[in-house]
């Protein structure tokens, strides 16, 4: 019971912080908008060409935007000392990390996923493709945050955070990128995306099961 209360408290704290500091979710959204809107200048404005690259640009753009939130996971708390509370809590650290990841994923995945269909208009994508893209972004962002939790927990005690986070995290997001964008490509060519979606869900569940444990171990290592 008390574990549930503790996890809820962590979750609620994060959501309140997000509600108070709008830049935490508004900045990634802005980044997403800008990244997706500069690509046409590089490749040309013909609808045919844009439709070909649109899925990839939107998906990668959403992932990169979500990357921006990773320092929020532990860095700030390490600076102001509130990380100690998390670490000294009698509750299992992995569960508390999961609660925090859930809050950040929710506060980030929802705006990004809602924006995806709107930005898909830039790329002349049909509405059913835009819909499935929003769904796969909803799955991909938590996967990235889960993997990113390990990296940012390790980097609490290290120098040179942001670029190193990208080097560590992005290669591990390739499966979700392949399956997520693959599902949208299937819909674009009029086929069923069921297999890709199932695999993307599987990778998400895999990350969900292992990443909080690994992130807890990582946090113990770096604050040892």
């Amino acid at each position: 019971m008390s574990l549930r209360i503790a996890a809820q408290a962590v979750f609620r704290r994060e959501i309140t912080l997000f509600a108070r500091r709008k830049s935490d979710w508004a900045n990634p959204l802005m980044f997403f908008l800008i990244v997706t809107s500069i690509f046409p200048f590089a490749v040309g404005s013909e609808s045919e060409r844009l439709r070909l690259i649109g899925i990839g640009v939107l998906f990668v753009g959403a992932l990169l935007a979500a990357m921006l939130a990773l320092p929020r996971l532990f860095d700030e708390d390490a600076k102001d000392g509130s990380l100690e509370h998390l670490l000294t809590s009698p509750e299992p650290l992995a569960v508390l990390i999961l609660a925090r990841v859930a809050a950040i994923s929710l506060a980030l995945a929802l705006p990004l996923a809602l924006a995806t269909p709107a930005f898909a208009l830039f790329y002349a994508l049909p509405s059913e493709v835009a819909g499935i893209l929003a769904l796969t972004v909803v799955l991909a962002v938590p996967t990235l945050i889960l993997i990113g939790a390990i990296a940012s927990a390790l980097l609490v005690a290290a120098r040179g955070g942001a670029i190193l986070t990208a080097v560590l995290v992005l290669p591990l997001t390739i499966p979700t990128l392949i399956f997520g964008a693959g599902a949208a490509l299937k819909v674009l060519s009029g086929e069923s995306p069921a297999a890709e979606l199932a695999l993307q869900v599987a990778y998400f569940l895999f990350a969900l099961a292992l990443c909080p444990l690994a992130a807890a171990a990582a946090l113990r290592i770096s604050t040892d």
Binding site: L164, V167, L172, I178, D224
Partner: protein, 255 residues
Amino acid sequence: MPRTEQQSNDRFNGKWFWRYASPAAFYPVAGTIEKLCWFLAISLTIIGLYIGFFRAPTDATQGEVYRVIYIHVPAAWMAMVIYLAMAFWCAIGLAFGTRLSFMMSHALAPTGAIMAAISLWTGALWGRPTWGTYWVWDARLTSTLILFFLYVGYIALAAAFDDKKKGDRASALIALVGAVNVPIIYFSVQWWNTLHQGASVRPGGSSMATIMLTAMMIMAFAFWAYCIAVAMNRLRTQIIERERSAAWIQSSVRK
């Protein structure tokens, strides 16, 4: 809490191999292994390249360019094997708190990255005349590229810590996370590959003559020996660096 080496030693007392988990005890052993492996690496390379270039005939379909595989295939194998070895030592290090295991992993990583890079580079130069392109997004090439990224991430993370002990365990954890993901990444890349390109061209798919295969296997053993020799050298350097204030290092430095 990590066990200290002393505790670990007590725990595993009576096992002869545990003695060699101590850097001081392993230092001379590493030197012997290094010398032996240098000898093997050099002699096997001479034999392998002699057979490969002066005994093995021209390939019927690929012409002379197939001779790149004598180094391409061994480099690709070593890139994979070294990552597995690294992950193994990282797991041992995290489980038992042995410093030497972490050092072993650090000693292997740069060579693994070089092997991955060599395998990509030679693969591109082999692919151009054979497939007509330097690069295809084939499952093997793509996986090797990602493997290279994993090596780079491991090395960069280990270097980002001022506290060496923390760096050891942090980079060990990321190596294990990578090792768990490698099969998944390989599977997903293969899935993606068949989705976009249909059946992919496979390097070395055609059957090879025995003499070519012999030369390649000898070169593979030469690569093994080279990698072990280099790793042992790097390991000894790390032992000197980390134990520099210990009496036994001081006495051997001053000799």
